[in-house]
Amino acid sequence: MQEFSKKLAVQFKPKYLFAHLVLFGVGLVLLYPLIFMVTVGFFTEEEFMTTVLGLLPFAKQPTWENFLVLFNGSADAAIQQYFLNSTIRTVYATFWALLTALLAGYVFARLKFRGKEVIFLTLLATQMIPATVALIPTYLQFARWPFAGGNNIFTGGTGILDTWWVYLIGGPSINIMGAFLVKQSMEKVPYELDEAAKVDGAGTLRIIFRILLPLQMPIMAFIAITTALATWNDFITPFFYTSSDHLQTLPAAITRLSSAAASPGTVPNWPLIITLSLGTTLPALLLFFFFQKYIVQGLANTGIKG
């Protein structure tokens, strides 16, 4: 309790007031477009069309219609199914990203072997290539996947296109950016920790998961957040490599609903489109709130001081 009041008193020091002011003020500016989105969500299409927009538009006859579409979907949108698909996909991808980043990060940070830097930089180099260039080759590769989807060796069917494999296949592949981050972070951890563990007879896996992983929690949380959000928001993969309704994810389905709300030559139904895109953001936000608390526990409180 005493701790608390001390902490409270400190908040009123000029330095702290300044920090509050900046973080709050800029934060408000950063949040502004999203607040704008929320207020627009209450408009009907007709009212939005005739409103002269001010800093924040408020609907005269607010409606829940747009938000209802989000939860009920329309007849052709099985929202629950999309939500489930999105969730499974995100959890799967995040799991593998964390695992491969941790293991590969360990290898690059701690082990000594020939060709390490070449391998590492080659992997890193591939991240510099605009994804656009691989889009069509990947499509061809999926379509020609051997012995899948009616293919004999390479031809005949549609390969793994339009199947769940499109989402699952990338899992065990190395998460390069994650590995990079883990490597950078692990290099700061003193070797004495590893050595001490080794003396106690710990194997490699034990060192990774018992000794090093706890120290990497903030970093792992960051990787989890970015991977989960990227996967959740990704609409290229479902859009490009699948067609069937039962394979769509939330963003893909919402992109579809949005494009239906914007037919040629008409003014798009902005309130609906904006509400829908807010809707995809919401679960992602919850995800963030869930993971972000791990970042608080910095290395300082996990006993690195030895």
């Binding site: 060709g115 391998i119 990947t138 950078q184 290099e187 903030p218």
Partner: protein, 333 residues
């Protein structure tokens, strides 16, 4: 790559990137052999998998850079370096590349600096810092398609919010879309808006992993706030800095969606960046050869920059790590 790893067990081969910390291990071939084996076991499946799924399609795209392949139904024709020659002759391409580079540089530096400042504030024991952190990060959560549309509504020339406010103040509205300055300005604002929270977050993770023992040691030495920032915080952040600079640069140079949705390359192609050009080549003109060649050139440039930066930063990193671990040992380990 695999054979490369296999050879790693060779005794006393050349050593690469040995960090200061590693030097403390006995330089025995037995350790190295064991390390190589573990590395092979861990990395081989991941990298093989990655080669099949990402490496192969990417190389496929690159190889196309040596072909003229216009139209889906024509068969590709091998043209050596024609596409590359065209790239450096046609202002459409080299100007787009140049634009990508300086725009990417601008976005990266502003995002990182602003993010760093914010992370210093967020690292203070403030009330509600979790909320601040979340609020700052929210823009990164949103989808680009949706939020660029919001920016467009705000910036619309005719009925946009900002121009409405300008008009109500008696000022003439601004035609944003036909000014290069404003086009670049809003692309940068959007990119920073979306990126600054993420940057702050990762800087923060870095800050929190700086050993508090070092601050205590500095306090004992009577170091001032600025001295602590320069001699403890910044060196401690170096590895994270390497990561954050490289990743931000990579993504900033590939800025494309905000350009597509906000300026569409205009006015008169003056905000057209290279990835935008690549996209148009691949999907509008079915000119997959040019798209492949442009991608390769772009990758080569980013790679060169990255390797230099990486080298430079890891070299200086080694000395710091050594210094630091010595200090730590002195300080109580």
């Amino acid at each position: 790559m695999i054979s490369n790893e296999g050879k790693a067990v060779e005794p006393d081969g050349g050593q690469l990137a040995v960090t200061g910390g590693l030097r403390k291990f006995p330089r025995k071939s037995a350790v190295k052999r064991r390390d190589g084996l573990i590395a092979a076991i861990i990395l081989t499946p991941m990298i093989l998998w990655w080669l099949v799924l990402s490496g192969f399609p990417t190389l496929f795209g690159f190889v196309l850079g040596f072909f003229e392949w216009i139209g889906i139904s024509d068969s590709p024709k091998f043209v050596w370096f024609d596409n590359y020659v065209r790239f450096f002759r046609d202002p459409l391409y080299y100007q787009a590349l140049w634009r990508s580079i300086w725009l990417g540089g601008l976005v990266t530096s502003i995002t990182l600096l602003a993010g760093f400042g914010a992370s210093l504030l967020m690292n203070m024991p403030l009330f509600g810092k979790g909320i601040y952190r979340s609020v700052w990060y929210i823009p990164a959560v949103t989808s680009t398609v949706a939020t660029t549309q919001i920016f467009n509504i705000l910036l619309d020339t005719n009925n946009g919010v900002i121009n409405n406010i300008l008009i109500s103040m008696g000022k003439p509205p601004i035609v944003w879309q036909y000014s290069v300055f404003w086009g670049v300005f809003w692309i940068v604002v959007y990119s920073v808006w979306k990126g600054v929270g993420g940057a702050a977050l990762i800087w923060l993770a870095g800050l929190q992993s700086v050993d508090t023992a070092l601050y205590e040691a500095a306090d004992i030495d009577g170091a001032g706030r600025f001295a602590k920032l320069m001699h403890v915080t910044l060196p401690g952040l170096k590895p994270i800095a390497t990561y954050i600079v490289i990743t931000n640069l990579i993504s900033a140079i590939q800025i494309y969606e905000q350009v597509l949705f906000m300026t569409n390359g205009g006015p008169y192609g003056q905000t057209e960046v290279l990835v935008f050009r690549i996209y148009r080549d691949a999907f509008w003109d079915f000119n997959l050869g040019m798209a492949g060649a442009s991608s390769l050139i772009m990758a080569a440039i980013v790679l060169t920059a990255t390797v230099f930066y990486y080298r430079w930063s890891t070299v200086s990193d080694r000395s710091i790590t050594t210094r630091r671990s010595r200090k730590i040992r002195k300080g109580g380990l």
